[in-house]
Symmetry: C2
Subunit: 348 residues, 2 copies
């Protein structure tokens, strides 16, 4: 066991506080990682606050982890001490079920082992703990390679916000010339705009906030569509090849579906209750599809795509000690577009 | 003009009453049809009652029409006097738009010309009138060939209830061995069960009504799943290759989505407001898709499939004069499974 500094939530209401955890001794197939940066995902807050009714306290959040390899097990291939690596939302899965065989470990029939908040198969009776900590030990098959070319701290959010938006764009085969609408400009939406633009699509930012217009264009959108402006929505009706819906809260889907061309798809990545009348999708022959992060193979593909296209997240750096204020700001949507913790702040 | 007996709705509340309409003189490309039977679709009632806010009165409903050719225009090919034919929900479309070119005339960008309730392109200032009448004149490209092998009166509902359920099963490539759930056992659902069974699928009828169990099995279902029985629903979780949702009223979709296997689809054919939490479709990588009747080419394919597999609707015959009582019974879901009007009753 390796004693490790971390920050944890202890109940639904109190601020996160320092907490010492144990990381397992590296197995032959493990990579031990010195954590440099960890992104702050909205899911971290949901779990810290037990919004989904599944939290076991104390919990150390964080699943957008960037670090350097500090030790490798004897059977580890492809990673060496000093390598820049990433860990995302999962640290293990059964590897044998139909989903795992299809490189969709996030849908493992046994349940993926989440980076935090899952029962730890290597430490019976304990839960996994995430990246708000100085180090982590992860099986080599769930460690991602990260290019040295990119701004390392801004790579962290790619491990969740990045793959969550990249995966549906790939699944639905977005290609050069497609007209893609990204609904909602937050941590996920801003990555969706960057990816779709890099894939050659004509990207329209769909938002209720006119002030986000300039930012959307800087990120790669060619136009901004105000979803509460009926005339604008009517002008874009039936014109989109794909919609990426990143809205993280309850909303009405009915205004968006008619934006799609005949037979085209809106992919949804935010888990929330929605209002929907099926009339729109019936008369448009449209599809609404769910998408959950992405498998390990696709996450590596996404990171390689980012290195090739020089894509990172827009980030605001914080120290570990600032996490509670950061949570407040995330909840009031006051961040462009992702907080990243400089883990040096916890090591000093 | 040909004076023609019909039954029409004159306002939202009064019973349907006799009404004389004019059918156009046949054009060179027209088929004049002596109507034998017309099915009673729930849409007829919605339009008669102006539930969708689009009705122009008086309106003659009816879009499940079976009849015999009584005259053909000089350029008509493939139809002869005496032929048994059908007319469904559409009588024309622009024929040149992208949707029409894809044999999806129901999604014509100019709007399909509906069998009733559309502006009649051949009679400016008049609306089209449907099959609650003794004859109709239709362009040959929107007339379907009907096999003499089948029980003719029971073929009528295939023109709407049939194609509406056949089309999504084909679009989503249902094949022998697939496990298919049909949700809702009414006019549409009972056809969905018959089609899916004829395609070789293992069909499960999903309903809230235990008393429908025996009927569902007679129609071709191998099992009945009571959607309000949580233990039964849990036992079937993640096991379906496809769900055909025929529920015609407001409902909660959340119990159904988790029945699907990873990545699989629920097709929805009923236009209604629904409750939906996207969590289920995200964690199942599932798809919810809309489907609207079917194109003319596919409708002919469906009729040919029915002739090959000896499939017709289960019908209860009525006279034209009984239409108002029939509407009451449809609204209280008291019909197995489709009323069909014997048009002889209007000719006497």
């Amino acid at each position: 066991m390796t004693n490790t500094k971390a920050y944890a939530a202890f109940n639904t209401k109190d601020p996160l506080k320092p907490f010492d955890i144990n990381r397992r001794e590296s197995l032959d197939t493990d990579v031990a990682i010195d954590i440099l940066f960890c992104g702050v995902c909205h899911s971290d807050i949901h779990i810290a606050h037990d919004d989904w009714g599944m939290t076991v306290y104390p919990v150390v959040p964080g699943h957008e982890i960037i670090g350097r390899v500090k030790a490798v097990g004897s059977q580890v291939k492809g990673f060496q001490v000093g390598d820049l690596v990433g860990v995302g939302c999962m640290v293990d899965s059964c590897r044998t079920c139909s989903a795992c065989q299809q490189d969709l470990e996030q849908h493992c029939e046994q349940g993926m082992v989440m980076t935090y908040g899952s029962e730890d198969p290597h430490m019976p009776g304990h839960m996994t703990h995430g990246g708000y900590s100085t180090q982590i030990v992860v099986d080599q098959d769930f460690v991602l390679r990260v290019s040295e070319k990119l701004d390392t701290k801004a790579v962290a959010p790619l491990l969740c916000a990045g793959i969550t938006t990249y995966s549906p764009l790939k699944q639905w085969n977005i290609k050069a010339g497609d007209k893609v609408g990204v609904i909602g400009l937050g941590g996920l939406g801003h990555m969706g705009v960057k990816f779709a633009a890099a894939m050659g699509a004509e990207v329209v930012m769909i938002t209720t906030s006119p002030e986000k217009g300039n930012d959307a264009k800087r990120l790669g959108a060619s136009a901004v569509l105000l979803s509460n402006d009926e005339a604008q929505m009517e002008a874009h009706a039936g014109s989109f090849d794909f919609l990426l819906n990143t809205i993280p809260v309850a909303h009405n889907m009915d205004p968006y579906v008619p934006l799609l061309k005949l037979g085209k798809t809106m992919s949804v990545v935010g888990a929330s209750p929605v209002e929907l009348h099926t009339m729109g999708m019936i008369f448009g022959r449209n599809v609404i599809a769910g998408s959950l992060i992405g498998g390990i193979k696709e996450t590596q593909e996404m990171l390689d795509f980012c290195a090739e296209h020089n894509i990172v997240s827009d980030v605001e750096m914080i120290n570990m000690q600032d996490i509670n204020q950061a949570y407040e700001r995330v909840m009031s949507n006051d961040v462009k577009y992702r907080f990243v913790i400089d883990m040096q702040s916890l090591k000093g």
